[in-house]
Every structure is written in structure tokens, then in C-alpha cells.
Amino acid sequence: MDSNLFGQIYDVLFPAVYRYIRLRVPAAETEDVTAEAMARIWKASGGFAGKSSLKTWALKITARHVAEYYRRRKQTTAPLGEEPALIPDGLNPAETVPDSLAIRNVFAGLPENQVAVIEFRLIEGLSARETAEVMAVTPQAVDSLLYRAKQNFRRAWEQETASV
């Protein structure tokens, strides 16, 4: 194994991969699933042709890995209380201010594909075309999703702040 290259790839990709998995997999299994996804990315790196950005390519692999993870889970009995945690518990204690709780509630009310489009476009900085590639939809659908996500986010946020 080329430790140097591995280290570089890991440092660059780990934050995005971890975020993606942390948001979708129960906390107890996040680390293991992330390690599996990173290993899979490393093993597949020989086949990276540079047609898309490294992050797009890695997130596609990660999305596929998470889908397989749930497919595997379906085949066995899922333990009670370990349902998919789209909005995970145990956030950073520093974030437990009223605003943070409100944001968390807003995200909890959004559909999964709208959360994903926010994540890819706003946080990971992917273009509409790259996001479309990861989500396996068209770029137009990405724009549309992002627009609806914005409207829903704004509506939910206003409700949250009004109730406070």
C-alpha cells in the first residue's frame, strides 16, 4: 500500500464521507461503516479515471455502500431503537443552544432527498451536475429539489422561531 497516497486520499475525503454516513447510519455503526466505505474507495482508486471530481466519485461510492448497508440490514432483524437516524442524536454539546435545536428540527422535517441536495450543493460544494451524478437524477431535478428544499427550510425555520 502507498501510505502517502492513502493518507492524502483519506485526509481529503474523510470529512465528506463521514458526514454523509453520520447523517444516515446509526451512531453506533458510523465508524465501522465509514471505515468500510473508505477502504472501498481506496481499493477502487486504481479505477479512478478522472471523469468527475474525486469527491463526487467518492460520494457515489459512499452512497452505494450505505444503500448496500441497509440492504444487508434488511436481511437480518434490525435491533429495536436503531432505526436509520437521518437526524442523529448526540450532536456537539456546544451546539445545544436554542438555534441549533431549531435547525435540527428543521432538518428532521425535510425529506431525505432535500437534505441530500443541501448537503451536496451547500456543504460539499458540488455543482448541480455533480450532485445529479451522485443522486442519480438530472441536473434540472437537482435545481428543482434545491429550490423546494429552500422553501421548505424557510417555512420550517419560521415556524420553529415563531414557536420559540
Binding site: D32, T34, W42, G50
Partner: protein, 403 residues
């Protein structure tokens, strides 16, 4: 983030709120390192099992030697197959009496046949002896000399002889048959490189049959001898009496014919006469055939000649001390010849394989170069993605060595 949709997020602070939410999902350094260690564990390839030939260095030599021997054996078999097939056929024909059912290589077959010869010869004579005893007891077949004159018995002799020279033996046997008043009814001679075979069908006077059968050893080693008889006395007498009866009938019809007064009577009698004559001629033909068989006994001989170039074919079983040296010499010649043939076979095989090997080698080199280029391009793509500002070619000079 210069899209119109993204600007909407920035303007009212929702973008910043979303960023705060995702910032809460970041892993701290401990988690990052723990996952890094786990990833490393998962990416460590399990050591590939060492090939067997690396574990056992001598095994490769054994395998190579075995392959060489197999190739040599196959080549030798290929070159010898037609010859052995011919020999086998010859043996198959000779072995009709059950002497050698499964001829092997010529050398083994010779010895095996020699072993069975004594048995077969004895068996043949034993059978002959049994027939004599049975004949003397009044039932079954007897030898021609001992049979009562009234008995009609057809004798046949089937024998196999191993002679020094097939052609000479055949000539001599034919002359002997003529000398005894008989004749040759069929003859066939087959000359192969290592094998000579002759087949002779003789007819000898029945009176000379026993003497002729006993004298076969004069021409060579009798490897099989079988005399059998067919007592046709009853059928012969029956046919003979019926012939006489038809003869009497014919005589009477002829008398009637002379006494006939009308044309109708003459035609009727002539029809009856024709029928009687047909029956008579049929019986006469049958009797003539039997007479011929009774007068001249059938002798079927098969003659084989030993190889002259290698007299002792199986060095492990020299037939006598005087031939041991000869056997040893033949063994040396055989071994040297086999080794030389094997070497020649390997060289020829390499000749056949060389063009294919060259093509495969070129294809392998091209494939290897192509795979290396492809891998280098991929690694350069990763490097370029990791460091977009650096020229891709300088990123990872050892691209093909890992992963």
C-alpha cells in the same frame, strides 16, 4: 456557489444555518484516527497463498520431468501406433483359439505367446487324444486310420506355427501337401517391417491326415493345434439311399415313357421325370461335396515369423543364459533409442510450439504495457484530483507499484 439558488440561501442566512447543522456532524481527531486505523486494517490485503511450486522448490523439477516423460511417451506411442496396430491385428487373427487375447507391445506379446504355446500345444494334442479315445470307445470322432470304412467322418486341422522363415515354410508345406497327393486351396502372405505372417489352406488325403498333423513340428514350433471332426455317416447314408431310390424312380419313369401311347401321357411322364432328376442331381451334388471332404481333409495353418533384428524382445526375461548378453545389448539399444526419440520429440514439439509462444509473448508484452499505461493514467488522475495545481505527471512516479 454562484448559482441563483445558492444566493437565496446566502441572503437570509439559511445557508449559514445549514452549515452549522452539518458542522455538528464533524468527527473529532480521535474518531478520525480511529477510523483511519480501521480503514488501514480493512485495506491490508491478506497475504496471497504462496504457490505450491514456491513452497516445494523440488516439485517444479519433478513436474517438469513428469511432463517431459509424458511428452516422450506420447510421441513414441504416436510413432509406434500404426505398427503395433498391424501387429495386434495379426495376433488377433492368430489368437482366435484364445492364445493371446490382448496383445501388448510386440516384445511382451512375443513372450506371452511363447508361454501359452506349450499349453495350447498340449491342449491341442490332449483334445486330439480325447477324440482318439472317444473314437475307440465307439462314439464321436476317431482318427481316419482307426475309423471303420463305413464311417463318414470329416477331419479338419487348425494350427498355428512359429517358424524361422514364413516364405520358406510355406513353400515346404505346399510341396509336402502335393507330395502326399493333396493340393493348396488358399494361401496368403503378409510381410511387415518387424513381422511376417502367412496363412495356408491345404487339402491332404484323409489317409495322410494324421501323419501330416503329427509332422507339423518339422516346420516350426506348434503354438496351437486343434483337430476336430464331423461325423456325417447318418446324413451321408440317408442321402445315398435317397439317391438310389430316386434312381430307381427315374428308371421306372423311363420305362413308362417308352410305353406311352399318347402325347399327353408322354408330357406327364416327362414332367415327373424332370422333378425326379432335379432331386437326384441335388443329392448327387451333396454327396460329391461330402466325398471331397472325406477324401481330402482340410488343414488350415497360420505361420508367424519372429523378428530377426531383435531376437530377444523382453530383456527382463531372457530365454536362456546364452541369450542374456544379446538381451542386455538389445536393452541398451532400446533405452538409447527411446531416449533419443524422446529428445527428438521434445525438439520437434518446441518447433511446433515456437510460433505460438512468440505470439503469446508479444501479446503478453503489449497487454502489460497497456495495463501499465492505464494504471499510470488513473493514478495521475487521482493525483491531479488531490492537487489540481500540480502537473499530474509529477504526482506519483511509482504509480504502478502499489494498490
Amino acid at each position: 456557489m454562484d448559482d441563483k439558488e445558492l444566493n437565496l440561501w446566502r441572503e437570509d442566512g439559511d445557508g449559514e444555518r445549514a452549515a452549522r447543522f452539518f458542522a455538528g456532524l464533524e468527527a473529532d481527531e480521535t474518531v478520525r484516527e480511529r477510523v483511519r486505523a480501521k480503514t488501514r486494517d480493512l485495506t491490508q490485503k491478506p497475504a496471497a497463498p504462496r504457490p505450491v511450486w514456491k513452497k516445494m522448490p523440488r516439485l517444479r523439477y519433478i513436474i517438469a520431468a513428469a511432463v517431459l516423460v509424458l511428452v516422450c511417451a506420447a510421441l513414441i506411442n504416436l510413432t509406434r501406433a500404426p505398427l503395433e496396430s498391424a501387429v495386434s491385428n495379426a495376433y488377433g487373427g492368430m489368437a482366435a483359439g484364445g492364445a493371446a487375447e490382448a496383445p501388448m507391445a510386440m516384445a511382451q506379446a512375443d513372450i506371452a505367446y511363447e508361454d501359452t504355446a506349450a499349453y495350447d500345444k498340449d491342449a491341442g494334442e490332449a483334445r486330439y487324444g480325447a477324440e482318439n479315445v472317444a473314437g475307440a470307445a465307439g462314439g464321436g470322432a476317431v482318427s481316419p486310420e482307426e475309423a471303420p470304412r463305413a464311417d463318414k467322418i470329416i477331419y479338419t486341422l487348425d494350427a498355428q506355427l512359429r517358424v524361422d522363415n514364413v516364405a520358406e515354410a510355406m513353400r515346404s508345406l505346399e510341396a509336402r501337401a502335393r507330395e502326399l497327393g493333396g493340393y493348396v486351396s488358399g494361401s496368403r502372405q503378409n510381410n511387415q517391417d518387424y513381422w511376417q505372417y502367412g496363412s495356408l489352406n491345404l487339402r491332404v488325403p484323409a489317409t495322410e491326415f494324421a501323419a501330416f498333423a503329427d509332422s507339423l513340428a518339422t516346420w516350426g514350433t506348434v503354438t496351437d493345434k486343434y483337430i476336430y471332426s464331423n461325423d456325417i455317416t447318418e446324413q451321408y447314408m440317408d442321402a445315398d439311399s435317397r439317391l438310389k431310390s430316386w434312381q430307381a424312380q427315374e428308371d421306372r419313369y423311363l420305362e413308362f415313357f417308352s410305353a406311352a401311347e399318347t402325347v399327353e401321357e408322354m408330357i406327364m411322364i416327362e414332367n415327373a421325370l424332370n422333378e425326379v432328376r432335379r432331386e437326384k442331381e441335388s443329392l448327387a451334388g451333396q454327396l460329391k461335396y461330402w466325398d471331397s471332404k472325406l477324401t481330402y481333409s482340410e488343414v488350415n495353418l497360420e505361420l508367424t515369423q519372429q523378428r530377426t533384428d531383435v531376437a530377444v524382445t523382453d530383456p527382463w526375461q531372457p530365454v536362456s543364459f546364452s541369450r542374456t548378453l544379446e538381451a542386455a545389448k538389445n536393452a541398451v539399444i532400446k533405452t538409447v533409442s527411446m531416449a533419443w526419440n524422446g529428445f527428438n520429440g521434445v525438439v520437434v514439439l518446441l518447433g511446433y510450439a515456437l510460433p505460438v509462444l512468440i505470439i503469446l509473448l508479444i501479446a503478453a508484452l503489449v497487454l502489460r504495457a497497456w495495463l501499465r499505461t492505464k494504471k499510470a493514467r488513473r493514478q495521475a488522475a487521482i493525483a491531479a484530483a488531490l492537487h489540481p495545481e500540480t502537473p499530474a505527471e509529477t504526482e506519483r512516479p511509482d504509480a504502478g507499484a502499489d494498490s
